[in-house]
Symmetry: C2
Subunit: 316 residues, 2 copies
Amino acid sequence: MLGEFDFIRRFLSHFPKARVPVGPGDDCAVLAPSRGPLCVTTDCVVEDVHFTRASFSPADIGHKALAVNLSDVASMGATPRWFLCSLALPQGFPLAHLSGLARGMSALAREHHIDLVGGNFTSARELSVTITATGELTRPPLTRAGARPGDWLYVSGTLGDARLGLAHLRAGVTRGASVRRQRRPQPRVALGQLAARFASAALDVSDGLAQDLGHLCTASQVRATVELARLPMSAVVRRALGAEGALAGGEDYELLLAVPSRRGKAFEQACARGGHAVTRVGEVSRGSGWVILDEAGRVVRRPGGFDHFGSASGVD
Amino acid sequence: MLGEFDFIRRFLSHFPKARVPVGPGDDCAVLAPSRGPLCVTTDCVVEDVHFTRASFSPADIGHKALAVNLSDVASMGATPRWFLCSLALPQGFPLAHLSGLARGMSALAREHHIDLVGGNFTSARELSVTITATGELTRPPLTRAGARPGDWLYVSGTLGDARLGLAHLRAGVTRGASVRRQRRPQPRVALGQLAARFASAALDVSDGLAQDLGHLCTASQVRATVELARLPMSAVVRRALGAEGALAGGEDYELLLAVPSRRGKAFEQACARGGHAVTRVGEVSRGSGWVILDEAGRVVRRPGGFDHFGSASGVD
């Protein structure tokens, strides 16, 4: 029978040794001094809420738990540095699954050069993984509050794929690009760092663009106008969900960026050089709330209405 | 029906505004530069593992979740600075209980001047609270690895009370000092900071002194000898559990400290002036493992034997 310390050893064996004064195994980790201010976030994935063990491999779970945190670090324009991992494991959780979870997490950690410095194991009825991640800032952080009238709005990648992937998994379809977006979201870390040179505000699109636009407008005290025809969607999402599905989204982990219009072209060129797909979807103006316009410039959606596309019950 | 954002607002309303460049509400918090290196820890309390909702008030749960993390910060000799709180809440968790939990956490946070800078809410089948706490170091950290032959070993406060309190709660006894130690552990933050001026090593006694002595010896590659007659116990623990119960302990959240013998008297005097109860319980020597001696100097307990007092099945 394996005890807590065997589990810890097994888990840690999948990660490189952290380059810090005191790493895992003591009461606290001690971090090396950072050159710039640190940003820090915590996020949790829970069995049967954010994943099921039937549809996600242990490596998928480990990947996703870290990815959702790295996405928050990315949206500040920060460089990932250190993270801690608190694992709640059901009785009898197989050691092989623990290794799989660690491998999925470790592969993503190596890709983004973020070091595991500590953590915690506890038993629980359901599997959950809570990660706290830190990033280092070499420029002022990209907050939600920095958008200004006249800024252009950009979205990275494509929207709606993770939502479609979830629908596929629920229907028993376990392969394809959308399923992969649901299981293995890719945090836009390099884009976030690039955007820190251009953008006035950023956040990651985790709740669906419609809701996250609302967060941006509230925090920045501005109004956002998005053109429906510009929303970046994969062909399969366009066919399966349409613009409504892409807007409501959820778990896209793309970045929503506000960039001063005079910097827009330079930002687009830098993105093209770096291989980052970004799409200009709208603009920021004085006011509050947001609207979505169709190709004729008519309002097709306003805040407050998740009930049905076009039947806006807005509180705008 | 209240949404996630109402819960967040309600929870945050119980905490003072954090003095940081970016506080709760953005994708990450941004921390103010710290003067010294940061230490960081994460720990989790889970319903029916670390508490029951029948025996703990929401405020008890909030207190305990933060206390176990502050205890880790204390054991490094650090000054608490910032923390994040990730809450997993069952469906229908009452808003009044959320406020109670926040109040218990906030009261302890104010006492130790640690600011809530961020967090996360998720639904789950069982209630759990995962906290990540940071502390600032103005002296080298007190690790588990610093004990040296010749050091004296000290324990703060008294041992075994939390274990007795747990037994009381299970028996339906809901009042008394032991129950309070179980519900409301007091992290030894001020003592940890004082000890940073004297000690060579420290850890908090969370798994019981016997087990935590083992951690110290392994990390420091030394041998520890503890005198049974010196173990600090309250009268009620001595009567109810005896030395065996106090040794096996669990959730004491006292500090185990190794202090160079030449600094021992000065340390004791500083503790007396500061109102910190510490008891010299033994000493460190060359070798490995630990032993407990009775009043006649006979070995009564060695590592590996949790089976029965005196029948050591050690792997020493």
